[in-house]
Each structure stands twice: as structure tokens, then as C-alpha cells.
Symmetry: C2
Subunit: 325 residues, 2 copies
């Protein structure tokens, strides 16, 4: 098999140039790039990573079952899970379940009949009964059952953190704004952490989260208005997600609140990668990359050793200061 | 095989309730939901969609080769391609290539050795030489070669549209701000459409796009500053992407420009799904859902009939008014 040295020799360029072309580095002239790619083709050169793949011949497939990739937090999960699987020699099949039991069951049925090495899943549906425990599964964000390992951000600590930040910033009346997706999921811990920390420090919390919210977020104005109507003297709000925080801030501003002057708001997730769009939210950031790495790691351990057992793994979160506290 | 009626009878509920549980509709009591799921499990009921899957036994796999899903435009592509493939009875394997030739080649090598029905790809690398034409391929956004169908937004019309909007809004000195990813891709047509339309109407354009930009967008401040230094009397700017528009607007405001009063800015893509974050960009929106549907449609025609030929398919774009024009 041709080596990178053979390619450099054939193309009449240095090793560094070949490497830069293979890594798509822009500082290579068109001419040299062409020479390298011609040599690669002529010699049938296969880069290192691909060569490693060839050794294992066919890679095994892992299915990622998530509601959608059309969401900034979940699309990051798809990205990092795929990256880690690839690095560990696996392929990833993407299964968007649209948060619908019907599609999810359909995928699970299909996965049972296909040769799937394992499943990594984020699901908010009651699908426990359909999961075949003979396929290794790792759950992200939700504790599905005793035998299925779960990897999640340390939501409890995140909730506590949000409370401490608001109190340190001088807030005296706190509120929690949640939504129904938090049910049956680790996400519920955010609420618990926030309420616990407030109670410990002697503060009451207006808890506005026991309402069933349907449909996409931009239709939540009635829900948010209901909260604003009850808010009274509240000066610090912890929202269960960044998107809900953003929707709430928009409506609160329309109703005359100045943020952060009158009202400080903290979200959860960390969906903003840049500071181009405002408000830049103050938020508890989920370490998506580590959550995914750990989930893949546990899944591969289960694939290699069916008797491998582990419970819930919590990954530390961090407060990121934005413009809203 | 048990039907939905059997499930309703076993659970002692109506057909509507079973359907609502399977579609995860929230207006079902916990008690009824549990009864339905118990009945589903007991009878081994498989929903319609899953039943359809069973008929075809094993679904074929299509690979989606894209730089990353950690980008709002590309994560939408992953979402819509998967959805359309699923509806048409196919599975999707996600291959993030990180815009690196090395990883892309590795994936292509792997795909050749696996049973893949076809590939849908967005690639900005020079990988033509590695593509095996015996696997059906459809390209999104980029014209890879004569034999490979390409589906793209009507970038040329989009560029023209941006020019007309800026002129109608009263701009008299126009500029185009591009970046290197536009090379070798349909994206280049945005520039051409904008320049053509301006020329036809007798306007000059300051074209600032022939610069090699490296690294993530937030590090582009030098590039953007270079443009701002040369801008002079420019009062209308068309940016090649929404993210570049957002980065440019941030820096322009820091340097004292009022947008849209002093300067009107149009982006391209349509990455904002809500109006929670500002600026809400005026932009030429790519109809991602139709691009993906069409790409899948063409790929499946090629899979079913190897002699099927089609060239470039352009999908119409639309101007969406935001806060920046």
C-alpha cells in the first residue's frame, strides 16, 4: 500500500504539502493541490484514518435516536456522538423520531431486524416496553430504566448554581419557569436543584412549570403571559431551557421589563456559540461534547462486554455569564 | 397481527385514545396511557408505519456526507434528508466530514466497502477523483461533476434579489462580502447574481470576497475590519451567509454604523427560526426542506434506475424581511 512518502515523491512536493492538502489547509497553491490529488489517485493512496478502517473491514453501526436535529442542542449531540463513534471505529445511523411514539416504535422495530451494534437515545416517550434489552443501549438526559445506563449533565447542580447566581446578583424574589418536556427526564432535576437551593437559603420560589405546553415554542405566548400575570415582585427567573428563556425575555420586554435591570434571567443549555445575536443569554451550559464522549464510551464497553453495568453518569455543568443577569 | 382495534378493546379505551397515545398527544391521562401501552406490549402490536417497514424487511441505507451538523443550516439538512428518506423507506447514515479531506476519504473508502444504496453529499473538498460512480450520488449545493446530479437553491436569483431589495430601499453604493467557502460551489452564483443585477441597473459594487479566510467565523474580525476600512460611502451590503452578515453587523455597529439607518445588510440562508434573538436578519432564505426532498427524490430514482440522468436542479428562494434593511 502506498505511503504518504510515495505520494510526496510522485507529486514532487514535500511531505508537509501532502499533509496540508489532505487536511484541506488553504495555504497550498491550486497547482500543488492538483499534483498531490493526482498522485493520490494514481497510487491508490489511502490516508491513515481510512487505512485503519480497512483493517477492521466493515464498521459496525450504532443508531442515534433523537427527536430532531433541527434544534441547536440536539444537533450538537448528533455531531459529537458521530465524531466520537467515528474515532472509535463505528458508523452512526441517525434516527429523528420527531418526539412521536409512532415513528420511534417504527425505528425500534427496524433496529431489531437490522444488525445494529447498539443504540444511543434521547427520548421523551414512554417506550420502555418496546426496548429489547439484548441490544446495548445508553440513554442521554433520561433515566429509562434500571438496566440502561444514563449520561446526563449534572442538572441538579445546574439548578442550584442558577439559584446561587441570582441571589448573588441581589435578586430577592425568585421564580422557576418550566415546561412539560421536563417530565420523566433528568431535566426535572434542574427544577429540584433550584427549589432546594432557594429553600436552604430561606427564599420562596414562584414555580410555574406544572402546565402542559403543546406545539412549538413561538406559540407559547399564552403560557408566558400567564406567568407574567402572576409574577408580581419577581426579580430573578430561572428558565428550564435557553429557548424558553429567549421567548420569555422577548415577551417580558414587550410588557415593559428591563432586563437585567428589573429582572435577571438565566437559561439552561448553552446554545449560543457566538455573541452576534442578542440577548446573549446568561446560562448553565451543558458540556455536550463530554456527555456524548461518555455516552459512546459506555455504549462501546457494553457492546464489548454484555455484563458491563453502570448506572447514571453525571457530567459537571458551568455558569456562563451573558447579558441577562 | 394485532390491530389498533384489538389494542383499544384490550385496554378498554376508544380508538382515538390509542391513536393519541401513539402520537404522544398530551391530552391523555397517565392512567389511560399506561393501559394502552400495556395492551400494546401484551398483544405485540406494531403501528402502521412500523408494519410497513416490516414488509420491506430491511431498509436500505443512504449516507449523508456533510461537513458538520453543528451549524444551523446543515443541521436542518440532516433533519429533512433523514425525514424524507424515512418516509420513502430508507435509513440514513450520518457522516460528518469536518470539511477535512482526510476524514471524507476515510468515509468514502468505508462506504465503498459497505452496502450503501447511495450518497447525498455536501462537500467543499476536491474529492472528485475518489468518488466511485457505481454508487448513486446526489450533490447538494455543489456541482461535483457532469454525471452527478446537483440540487441547490437558486443562488443566482437570490443574488439578484438581494441587489433589487437594496436598490429599492434606496441604497446607492453597494458592496458584496464573501468568503472562501464559496469557491467551487453553487454558492459562488450568489456573487454573480448580485454583480450582474447591479451592473444591469448601472451600479458599481465593491467586491470584497477574494480573500482566503481561515478558521471559525468569530476569528474573522481582521477580514471584516479590512472591509470596513475600504467601505467609504457604501450603504448596502450583501453578505454571502447569515453568519457572516451577523459577524459583520456586530463589528460595524462597534465602529459606529447604525443598521439599517446608515447601512442596510442582507444575508443568505435563513438560519433564524424565531424572532427571539436580534438582529433578526433580512435574508434570502434557502428552502432547505424542498432542496432535501428533491435530492432524496433524485437519489432514489438513480438507485432504482442506474440509467436515470439529470443535471442541476434549482429550487426557488425568497427574500425574508428582518430588522437589517
Amino acid at each position: 500500500m502506498a505511503t504518504i512518502k510515495d505520494v510526496a515523491k510522485e507529486a514532487g512536493v514535500g511531505l508537509g504539502t501532502v499533509s496540508r492538502v489532505l487536511n484541506n489547509h488553504p495555504s497550498v497553491s491550486k497547482d500543488k493541490r492538483k499534483k498531490v490529488l493526482t498522485a493520490v489517485k494514481k497510487l491508490g493512496f489511502v490516508p491513515n484514518e481510512a487505512a485503519r478502517t480497512l483493517k477492521t473491514q466493515t464498521r459496525q453501526m450504532v443508531a442515534l435516536l433523537i427527536p430532531t436535529t433541527d434544534n441547536p442542542y440536539l444537533s450538537k449531540i448528533a455531531y459529537y456522538v458521530e465524531e466520537e463513534l467515528f474515532n472509535r471505529g463505528y458508523k452512526m445511523m441517525l434516527c429523528n423520531n420527531h418526539a412521536q411514539v409512532d415513528k420511534e416504535l417504527s425505528y425500534l422495530t427496524m433496529l431489531r431486524r437490522n444488525k445494529i451494534a447498539g443504540i444511543i437515545g434521547i427520548t421523551y416517550n414512554d417506550i420502555e416496553s418496546f426496548i429489547q434489552t439484548n441490544i446495548p443501549i445508553v440513554s442521554i438526559d433520561r433515566n429509562i430504566g434500571n438496566d440502561i445506563p444514563c449520561v446526563a449533565a449534572d442538572n441538579l447542580k445546574g439548578g442550584e448554581m442558577a439559584c446561587h447566581v441570582l441571589l448573588e446578583k441581589g435578586c430577592t424574589k425568585l421564580a422557576f419557569l418550566g415546561d412539560r418536556t421536563s417530565k420523566n427526564s433528568e431535566v426535572k432535576e434542574r427544577e429540584r436543584g433550584f427549589l432546594n437551593a432557594a429553600r436552604e437559603r430561606g427564599f420562596d420560589v414562584l414555580n410555574y412549570s406544572n402546565i402542559e405546553v403543546q406545539g412549538p415554542l413561538h406559540e407559547h405566548s399564552e403560557f408566558i403571559d400567564g406567568f407574567l400575570d402572576q409574577m408580581d415582585e419577581v426579580d430573578g427567573v430561572f428558565c428550564i431551557s435557553d429557548l424558553l428563556a429567549a421567548a420569555f425575555i422577548k415577551r417580558a420586554r414587550q410588557r415593559g421589563y428591563r432586563i437585567p435591570d428589573d429582572l435577571k434571567v438565566i437559561g439552561f443549555d448553552g446554545i449560543q456559540d457566538n455573541s452576534f445575536f442578542h440577548p446573549v443569554l446568561s446560562t448553565i451550559r451543558q458540556p455536550v461534547e463530554f456527555i456524548c464522549k461518555r455516552a459512546v464510551d459506555i455504549l462501546l464497553q457494553k457492546i464489548e462486554d454484555a455484563s458491563f453495568q453502570t448506572g447514571k453518569t453525571l457530567i459537571p455543568v458551568a455558569f456562563v455569564e451573558g447579558e441577562t443577569t
